[in-house]
């Protein structure tokens, strides 16, 4: 019977094509508005690394001033950054599965063969080789640098696909050299397309922006004293010994995000014990004079605390849902008008033996097709809206404005289901017709 009902539905849609088209458009506009805002909100708030979200933690230690709490908060919290000396100490202790400092600087980048005028100011990420494995970063060519590079601070680098396209025309550049300021770095790896959203591991204000195009070992940044105070956020509670970078490295100033990978509760517990004992040791050396507030914070908790997720996008989703409901009510009214014109046909079908359930199924299929067409058109409209948004908000990653296959399927299914739900009343109304009173009106 489904094929018969589908045939009748198509004939009916054609017969009432203008009204049907109007219902499809109304549903499409509603679903497009909802799914556009939902997509953006979903991409902004989704789990950035589902396979690792339970095992990655931001290390927070309270090395702040004995005089006052960090940021003078009522409820004291540890800074989000570590000082260089703590980051280096934690790396040396090597107590976690992976240790990932997140630091950076900026410098002029060019190929050795290029003139100085061709150099471009470039933001550089510094970390350890664990950055690539823990954050599941894909490689197009080469691989991450060896552990010795982390230990010795070798001048090696991994570059993004985009930068490789720009500097080396997309060819395998492993073994080639780039110049950062006055230092030469050997390319050991080229990343494939990689976007982790939200980009949880760095500054929350950059959570929806593209990752850096060039990555070097953290130890190399330290060794070469590459420091860009006007790029890198840092917080100090006391003056450094002098104005040198070395003094800054040795100070209590905090600026390095420090992530660790710990698998399971026991590893987390053991690492927490280690942090506690480390802080106790440092207290004995005269540091960490405030209450111990050691913390292992999950990526989502960190992003939430730093207000990375704008509540505006959530409000927009709710507004879009309200708008969609209004659209569905409109569609319901159109479908009701459409079905009212079928009273004669309903009566005839009842007279020749169709039960209420037969007619209910027939009109549910017709309404479902309207929902399906609305979903399809809504999907196209949503793609257009997302493209338009990506052109409008160029400072945000384009990947936020992209709908996954899963969301595309949800769009169509939601459209069909909501159409069926909102079609129930018109259908019930249509099949409630008294055949005896309608049989002269066909």
């Amino acid at each position: 019977m489904i094929s018969y009902y589908t045939k009748l539905a198509i004939l009916s849609l054609w017969k009432t094509r203008y009204m049907s088209l109007l219902a499809v458009i109304v549903i499409a506009v509603g679903i497009a508005a909802t799914m556009t805002t939902y997509t953006i909100n979903h991409m902004m708030t989704k789990d950035p690394l589902p396979s690792k979200s339970d095992s990655l933690f931001l290390v927070r230690l309270n090395n702040w001033s004995p005089e006052s709490a960090y940021k003078n908060r009522d409820v004291e919290t540890a800074p989000v950054y570590l000082s260089v000396q703590d980051a280096v100490n934690l790396i040396r202790h090597d107590k976690a599965q992976a240790q990932i400092p997140i630091a950076g600087f900026k410098d002029m980048l060019k190929l050795p063969s290029q003139d100085a005028v061709d150099a471009k100011m470039t933001f550089v990420r510094s970390s350890t080789r664990d950055f690539f494995s823990s954050f599941e970063v894909p490689f197009l060519y080469g691989s991450s640098w060896p552990k010795t590079s982390d230990i010795n601070g070798e001048q090696v680098t991994v570059i993004s696909k985009k930068l490789n396209d720009k500097l080396f025309d997309g060819q395998d550049s492993v073994g080639r050299t780039v110049e950062l300021g006055e230092h030469q770095f050997t390319v050991v790896g080229v990343l494939d397309d990689w976007f982790v959203l939200p980009r949880f591991y760095g500054e929350s204000t950059r959570a929806f922006k593209a990752p850096r195009d060039i990555i070097v070992p953290f130890q190399t940044q330290l060794n070469l004293e590459l420091w860009s105070p006007n790029l890198q956020a840092f917080e100090c509670w006391k003056e450094t010994e002098d104005a040198s970078v070395a003094a800054f490295w040795a100070s209590e100033c905090v600026w390095v995000f420090f992530w660790v990978e710990l698998n399971g509760e026991s590893e987390k517990r053991v690492y927490m014990d280690f942090l506690n004992s480390y802080v106790e040791q440092q207290k004995a050396l005269g540091r960490f004079q405030r209450p111990t507030l050691n913390q292992l914070q999950s990526p989502s908790a960190y992003l939430k605390e730093r207000d990375a997720y704008s509540s505006d996008s959530e409000i927009a989703v709710w507004l879009a849902i309200c708008f969609f409901t209004l659209c569905l009510l409109n569609a319901m009214s159109i479908i009701m008008t459409k079905f009212q014109g079928k009273a004669g046909e309903v009566a005839l079908r009842r007279a020749v033996g169709a039960s209420s359930m037969d007619l209910f199924q027939q009109y549910m299929i017709e309404t479902g097709i309207i929902g399906l067409l609305g979903g399809g058109l809504g999907l196209l409209l949503a793609q257009f809206c997302l493209f338009f948004s990506s052109q409008l908000y160029t400072h945000l990653s384009k990947n936020i404005m992209a709908m996954s296959v899963e969301l595309m399927v949800i769009t169509v299914v939601l459209s069909v289901l909501s159409s069926l739900v909102f079609g129930l009343f018109p259908i019930a109304n249509a099949i409630r017709v008294q055949p005896a009173t309608q049989l002269k009106s066909l």
Binding site: Y4, G344, A351
Partner: protein, 229 residues
Amino acid sequence: MLRMANLAKTYRTDTIETKALSPFDLEVKQGEFIAVVGPSGSGKTTFLNITGLLEVSSEGQYWLDGVEVSTLGDKAKSRLRNEKIGFIFQSFNLIPELNIYDNVEMPLRYRKLSGAQRKKRVEQALEKVGLASRQKHYPSQLSGGQQQRVAIARALAGTPAFLLADEPTGNLDSKMAAGIMSLLKEINANGTTIIMVTHDLEQATQAGRVIEVKDGVISEIKNLAQKIA
């Protein structure tokens, strides 16, 4: 095959109670051709709708092929309508966007018949009414008489025990009307019971029995032909 005992119909609103049919008894046997006559608004169509299970009576009992119908639910009534009753309406009631084949096939769609079984029955029904060659035509491409023949084929396709015809010639000219009447008589001669509502006393005389509905009261008229002569 059809028995009504003390059947009556009253329409009630908050303030008004209208008696459409006073209590009556009626028995119709297999193969009968009954004409129902009476002035407009007398209750003829109400009688036909109750007989065709499109309306329920307010009181009394109704047996159709031995089944007491007043207690049946929607699904059982629909099945009974589909299997036992064929309707023919004054305004043909064909669905304009379906072709002749699909219109005739409609009642069969609500039975669990295979495509081949449906096809055979539709072709036989259209053959009976002389429109086998018009299967792919649409109602708008046929004359009024032809449309009514399609409606009759639709009613016959389900091989019903009886046909209910509500002024089947009311929208046709006399020549077409005569053709339809002779078709109905032929169908009746083949064993199908027919109950036909008509305004036309001439046509009523062609039925085996004539029932008059007047002010909601049902009575049988004997020797109508002599009375109108």
